[in-house]
Point group: D2
């Protein structure tokens, strides 16, 4: 523990997600602070450090891991690097916060959970939807019995494609809209319902808009069956115009609720002149737009980081763990396989000899037949 009592954090990464980590931690400064950032591209880490006043900068994250005062390290790097980085961080005896999705393969995910356990550190999984205030209200009502037995949970996240170019390369991302965004929806439904076992997954996916850039699906529908006779419906897109869209719907035998983080929370605004910033991935601020306010807080990022910091100090138990990420990853594999086969895939599902989720779709029977 340091003098000011804050948990000291190192960030691996310097782009979109790393920026969110730094900003969120700044908003949670009563509990946590960023003291170092590592990124291999020369200049990138320094730029982030300058923006947020981060004192130490590294190009090799392994060097950063030698800093003895760092207690917690966040991974904001491409998906295919998560496993190795987690191993390195855990062996340096620091707690891990890993961005979603957890890993490229289930075997990697298993090993990540194991290595954290063996080294006595926490593997925390950065699923911010567990901390999104508006969604927490829905869960609070559901848990208070407002809707009776819930039978259908919907979550949808859509925009016009990722910020960072590595996402388009399926060898580095492992998949498209489902991999990038569906991990949120799967985690959300699972958590909202109290973590019942996932029985089966069915997915429909296609590449409609970005086929020039990627083999990955840019739109996906996903249906989950849970052991408690409940269904999840998840919709994701990299092909939806007009800015970010994130929403849920909860259906129970006694009621229903809707929560929309964007058009349902924003200030409907018309401006001839524009005004700087509306919302993540908004195409413009002129004409009609839907600016959000306190975006990071409304997603739950600072609350999440403050929670992880308290976990690091043993004051709380992680609400979102590597184990959660592993369950989501298995469902993602099942989802791509189901899209490849045209049928729902039962869980447990542990495919062998597969390096990325998406290849189960790209090389599946249904996909081959379905080519247009």
């Amino acid at each position: 523990m340091t003098q000011n009592g804050r948990v000291r954090v190192g960030i691996i990464g310097s782009r979109f997600e790393a920026d969110i980590h730094a900003a969120a931690i700044k908003m949670a400064q009563e509990a946590v602070e960023v003291v170092a950032v590592a990124s291999p591209t020369p200049g990138n880490a320094a730029a982030l450090a300058k923006k947020y006043g981060i004192p130490r900068v590294f190009t090799d994250y392994r060097e950063m891991l030698k800093e003895s005062d760092i207690e917690m390290v966040t991974i904001a790097a491409p998906n295919y690097l998560h496993a190795q980085m987690t191993q390195d961080i855990a062996q340096a005896k620091k707690h891990v916060v890993c961005e979603k999705p957890l890993a490229m393969t289930i075997a990697e995910g298993d090993e990540m959970v194991d290595v954290a356990k063996r080294n006595g550190v926490l593997l925390m999984y950065a699923e911010e939807l567990f901390f999104t205030p508006k969604y927490l209200k829905a869960k609070e009502m559901a848990d208070a019995g407002a809707f009776g037995k819930v039978y259908l949970v919907k979550q949808s996240e859509k925009h016009f494609g990722p910020h960072s170019p590595w996402f388009w390369d399926v060898n580095r991302s492992g998949g498209g809209a489902l991999m990038d965004l569906g991990c949120h929806g799967i985690a959300f439904c699972y958590w909202f319902l109290g973590r019942p076992a996932i029985k089966s997954v069915y997915c429909q996916m296609g590449t409609y808009v970005h086929a020039d850039k990627t083999q990955a699906e840019d739109d996906a529908l996903c249906i989950l069956e849970f052991a408690n006779h409940t269904v999840g419906l998840i919709e994701n897109s990299w092909a939806r115009r007009g800015g970010m869209d994130d929403r849920i719907e909860i259906y129970g035998e006694s009621g229903v609720t809707y929560a929309n983080l964007h058009m349902g929370n924003a200030l409907p605004t018309y401006s001839e002149n524009g005004y700087g910033y509306a919302v993540e991935k908004a195409p413009t601020t002129t004409g009609w737009s839907y600016p959000v306010f306190e975006e990071l807080w409304n997603y739950g990022f600072p609350q999440e980081m403050a929670h992880f910091a308290r976990c690091t100090r043993g004051k709380e138990n992680p609400q979102s763990t590597g184990q959660d990420g592993l369950i989501v990853l298995e469902a993602l594999y099942a989802g791509y396989a189901s899209a490849g086969e045209g049928r729902k895939i039962d869980l447990p599902f542990r495919p062998h000899g597969v390096k990325t989720p998406i290849e189960l779709w790209l090389h599946g029977n249904a996909a081959r037949k379905g080519k247009v």
Copy 2:
């Protein structure tokens, strides 16, 4: 043609749908009028006749078909009666307007289309969503290129269960929420996209709230793949509380639109006292409610009936035909089969020896396995 120039109509039925026919025709009185109603339950036809000033009343619709001035007959009777009634009406050389879904079996539907053709009458299929003004605006924008190539069409209709008790009996209805409401969604997506062939259907369904009353599913999700590399997502429920909900979403490479017929059109209203009528299937008018205005017009019923009357006179070609109903029926069969098998079903799909769509689900492998 009669003196006042209006098309003379007979209605078969006297309950919820028959009432809508009578009310809609009254609103389209420049073109059409109801002159007779037939219903077997003593008193029912008379009650409807009294409410709408219909001069002639029959308990046996076959008697009504002998009235020579009637040009068009609407079928607002349980699903399992549609085929026989259509035969009788066509043989009486009157034009047919058949409520959705078209029939219980595809063979029946084939025969209905044939019998109309053989007798030189029109078989018109009462899919009002083709006439819903707000949805027509979405189609008009799509057809004007607002969204570029459309890749996903969503339609959802949900409420807390049907008005008429025969729906709960799968032998008379043939199925539950998908059969009752999904027929709208399938027709809508098909029509919106310009009637491309349906390639496959996948459905997820369950009975969550009304298992005490019915074997039928009370909630269903349905994914359609179309030949033009487009997807339809249809959601239906008899288990959704809070009144009627009908909405669409259209996603294209260049844009998106949302149209909501209920909460997105209504007058958000709080009343301590209540006020008579809010909207179809609304549970109450006290507290907060979402009353709609000119409900039948906003669904498109009078526009539909006026169109069918003009078709009867040869002034227009039917926008919604028995052929459309037949395609929807085939997709419904494929939907129930897919829910029964846990995989998507390719079309054409002509199952043999099956009397109702729902038995393909109730007796399917996945359904048996999935029993909780």
Copy 3:
């Protein structure tokens, strides 16, 4: 009465309002048809005639009044011409439909009411809000007791300025946003509450955006006190960006309702490409927009014209009369006077020697003091 039974109409005018008349009458063709149009600018009447298939065209409306088959004439001409035109039409023994506001002076309005009476024709006042379906639903609920005693009625109409250039000239329009749009709000509150006497009017107004084009106010707030201890709050603007906005709010001791004709009824839409038409006065159809559907029907124009046609035939009594227009005009005068004096003006209010409402503001004490 003509062969097809429709009321034959002549329109005076050829621009924005005349186009609405022609379109609305076309939508009400079971009851009414336009047979002639008159407009002094060469070519204008012919253009409208071509667009709507109107057989007869005049440059002098007095010539049109000689057509013996015309039963009803609508005035869609600048405000300062309403009085003379009404006299001419009435003396030609044709029924009059006059656009709002009724006239330039109260004396003119008195004379219009008189001349219609003396000639045995109807003077109908084209206040479409009495026919707007969504607003009628609010009134229906209020009349059913949903809100108990209503104490506050709000109506707001705002956009970025009128279509026709004569509005900017206060000598032809008589005033700005209050004169052009406030006439709707005053009429609406008065009608909604069951036509209680107006006790007083208070207005706040200013010219904020269009001072380069006009002396008229481009934004106005107006508070009405009614004899039944109820208040009306009316907001109008020619300075509001982003397209048309028309909404009401009703507050009663037992409840509240909101009705919004635009953002609350539209299809929220994002389009990269645009799509032709969104809504009256919308700046663009690219980016986010709020297209409405069946705009004229949702304002109530065809319903209004059908009603006026039935009145012309004696089948109904006018729901909106010259007398209503006169009461609104008196309130408009009181409103401008109140803005000029900085105090509420009690009714009856019959200022002498005044030619336009707006001069009471422009030359009032408060206005002079308030100049910035």
Copy 4:
């Protein structure tokens, strides 16, 4: 400064507002903590202390002021006590946070500002709308030029009446809905526009629903003219059913924005069973309701208290001061006077011999004339 570095606070009061203070301070615990509460009614302070873990309880706030470690004292007591309490707190050399409205009379307010200055303490005015995140976004856009020159700012706060019974007694509250809620709106418009001088005030008010309980107005409309040629429109009600409603609208020559803290932020929810808590003053949680999430944060209370704590330590300058409260109070006096006189009242306005704002309305000419 105490060991944990937090500012130590004493609260005067134990009811609705005091509870908000305690809860907000708990949410801002990195900066501030409540160490004492004082309330004269036996048991009340103890109850609040128990709920929030406040260690010290007093029945006489003067005793609490003797606690040397307390740095800041918040006044959550009836309006008529604010002046005396502020004097006592300031003389005890503690910083003051005073709830709105500042005082009963302008003379009192003057004296409050003076006594704070003389004693070298801060008089901070608890106007939380200056800290409401959604409204701050509107201001941020306006300040960034999104709307060009703003010409109209609207703020509305409405519900069905206050929590605490002393509000109904005009001798203790000084007025009704305008005094209780209009103080927010006046402060908001003034602050939003950059604190231009208020030129004049006009108010319309009436007692429509609660005349059995109070002489005070339960509904008020208020128009402010500012020196920079801008207008504020404020609407307040204690007579609006259906729960809390707080919203703003900003109109500028280049754009417009709307921010709604309740229906525009909530989760539209239907529940047969209810669920505990929806929103301040919501009548019920069954049927349709609009639950908000993180209510205090969305109003800005914890942000406000954290700011005041930082001001207490000299790290920031108060964003909301006694001077602001004094300007609001003067406008409130002008508002009641204008309702009494039926004309707008110019500022500066310093009425003599008046003990409460509301008497200027109750005894004004217009009010007497307007009695029904």
